[in-house]
């Protein structure tokens, strides 16, 4: 926008006391557009020549979704948006008839970055390091993840394994051969070190108000346990009203971790159950263990999932296959939440 245009727009705005929308596109370019009463925000933006992807204009296709960072969103504009995304300010511009000024963005506003001090790092025999760190005033929803950046500027995404409100933020770092981040964690990271942490992000979330009455099926492989552990603890300690089942898959028993803590939780909460599905039981003595194929076991044990809310976390090959299986077993698409872990390219 040219400065003269900006000033004339500003004049119009001031004279009429008309609410405006401050729009920022993907490249960070800002535009200010007056809001016309009775007209959708999408139409107001399109009228002004702002390019916004859109299709059905009736709240179905979600292609005109924007994010609001400031201002009062009409609740009708968040119809059909998942809770975690609502919290990020996501709304449908075609359904948005604002009365007051708004600041909106084309893409998710990135959460702030801050420094965390590592309290402890523990390397488990199963090939996972447990990081516990302290960050003040950090609010998140169970199931979300953060970007961690080390002293060499290497950034990786890790799910939060602790429960909202816990003293520490906990992350599980799987040891990857020649992995820049995980090898640094294994060989150099020590208590007292600082890490840069950006978050929280992600929509594979448990919220007590939305899910409290639903039976939960959570399934994961590898460090997919991290977000599921946060969800299980949050649900149980919040007083979840329905049964909760966690199923963890691994090739070998020795690759599993937190088995004792999870079995202990089943003893403390009768509504909670855990099952470990392994192909090869190379360590005897693990309770709640079955030697079975994970997919087959879930299929036979949970043939009917229509009433369930499902959480799936781990490698993408796993989440995709399991999402399809659970959907075919009757779970509604809107009740299947998944977080796919994609390996970093070196």
């Amino acid at each position: 926008m040219r400065p003269t245009e900006f000033i004339s727009n500003l004049f119009t705005t001031l004279l009429q006391k008309q609410p405006v929308v401050h729009f920022r596109d993907a490249a960070g370019e800002r535009t200010q557009v007056p809001i016309i009463k009775g007209r959708s925000l999408l139409d107001s933006l399109l009228d002004a020549g702002v390019s916004v992807p859109h299709s059905c204009r009736s709240g179905l296709c979600h292609s005109c979704a924007l994010y609001c960072s400031n201002g009062a969103l009409p609740s009708a504009s968040q119809k059909g948006i998942k809770d975690a995304e609502k919290a990020q300010g996501k709304f449908l511009s075609c359904l948005c008839m604002p009365d007051t000024s708004l600041s909106v963005h084309l893409s998710t506003p990135l959460p702030s970055t801050r420094t965390a001090t590592l309290d402890s790092v523990e390397h488990l025999a199963s090939g996972v390091s447990i990081l516990k760190m302290r960050v003040t005033d950090f609010a998140f929803t169970a199931g979300q993840f953060c970007n961690l950046t080390n002293a060499y500027g290497v950034t990786r995404s890790y799910s939060i394994a602790s429960r909202p409100g816990d003293e520490h933020l906990e992350f599980h770092v799987r040891h990857v051969e020649q992995g820049h981040f995980s090898q640094w964690v294994r060989s150099q990271l020590k208590a007292g070190d600082a890490l840069s942490i950006q978050g929280p992000m992600g929509n594979c979330c448990y919220t007590f108000s939305a899910h409290k009455d639903r039976p939960l099926l959570l399934a994961g492989v590898g460090t997919g346990l991290a977000p599921l552990y946060s969800i299980v603890c949050d649900a149980l300690y919040s007083g979840h009203l329905a049964p909760i089942t966690l199923v963890l898959g691994a090739k070998k028993t020795s690759q599993l971790y937190y088995t004792q803590a999870l079995v202990a939780l089943t003893k403390k909460f009768s509504q909670f159950n855990v099952h470990f599905c392994v192909q090869d039981d190379d360590e005897s003595g693990t309770e709640n263990l079955v030697e079975a194929d994970l997919y087959q076991w879930v299929k036979t044990s949970y043939p009917e999932l229509a009433q369930y809310t499902v959480f799936l976390c781990g490698a993408q090959s796993f989440t995709r296959k399991m999402q399809r299986q659970c959907f075919l077993a009757g779970a509604s698409m809107n009740d299947i939440f998944h977080d796919s872990f994609i390996p970093a390219t070196p």
């Binding site: 299709s55 059905c56 204009r57 179905l60 296709c61 959907f327 075919l328 698409m333």
Partner: protein
């Protein structure tokens, strides 16, 4: 604001989309329909490596269109989206059968099913790239 004037005009009969229940009908149908499509050996393989979340959104848009609802489906889009798939009559019929089975399961009236099938047939040439 023009309601006052509108009232004087003769009432228009509800559209097909309004009649069968609008967005709620689409929401009720989409999972049933998508599940049938994924379980149909004639067409299931087209969906093997597809992102289910975005496919689910597309299924909703498709159902909204055939239910006579607000949509922006254009013949050009339909052609472009299906061109690389080498679809045949059999594939189109499979989708149509799953659609009809879904509607019957939801107890949609036969005359409305007929109207919906007519809309679905109207995109057949585009889908089959004829």
């Amino acid at each position: 604001m023009f309601n006052f004037f509108k009232k004087k005009q003769p009432e228009t009969p509800p559209s097909l989309y309004e009649k069968i229940g609008g967005e709620a009908a689409v929401n009720a149908a989409v999972d049933l329909f998508y599940r049938k499509v994924l379980s149909d050996d004639r067409i299931a393989h087209f969906f093997d490596s597809i992102d289910m979340d975005s496919q689910h959104v597309k299924q909703k848009a498709f159902l909204t269109m055939v239910f006579g609802g607000p949509n922006s489906y254009s013949g050009k889009d339909m052609r472009a989206a299906h061109a690389h798939m080498n679809l045949t009559e059999e594939h189109f019929n499979a989708v149509a059968e799953n659609l009809i089975a879904t509607l019957k399961e939801l107890n949609v009236a036969q005359e409305d099913i007929d109207s919906i099938v007519t809309i679905a047939l109207s995109v057949k040439d585009d889908v089959l790239n004829k």
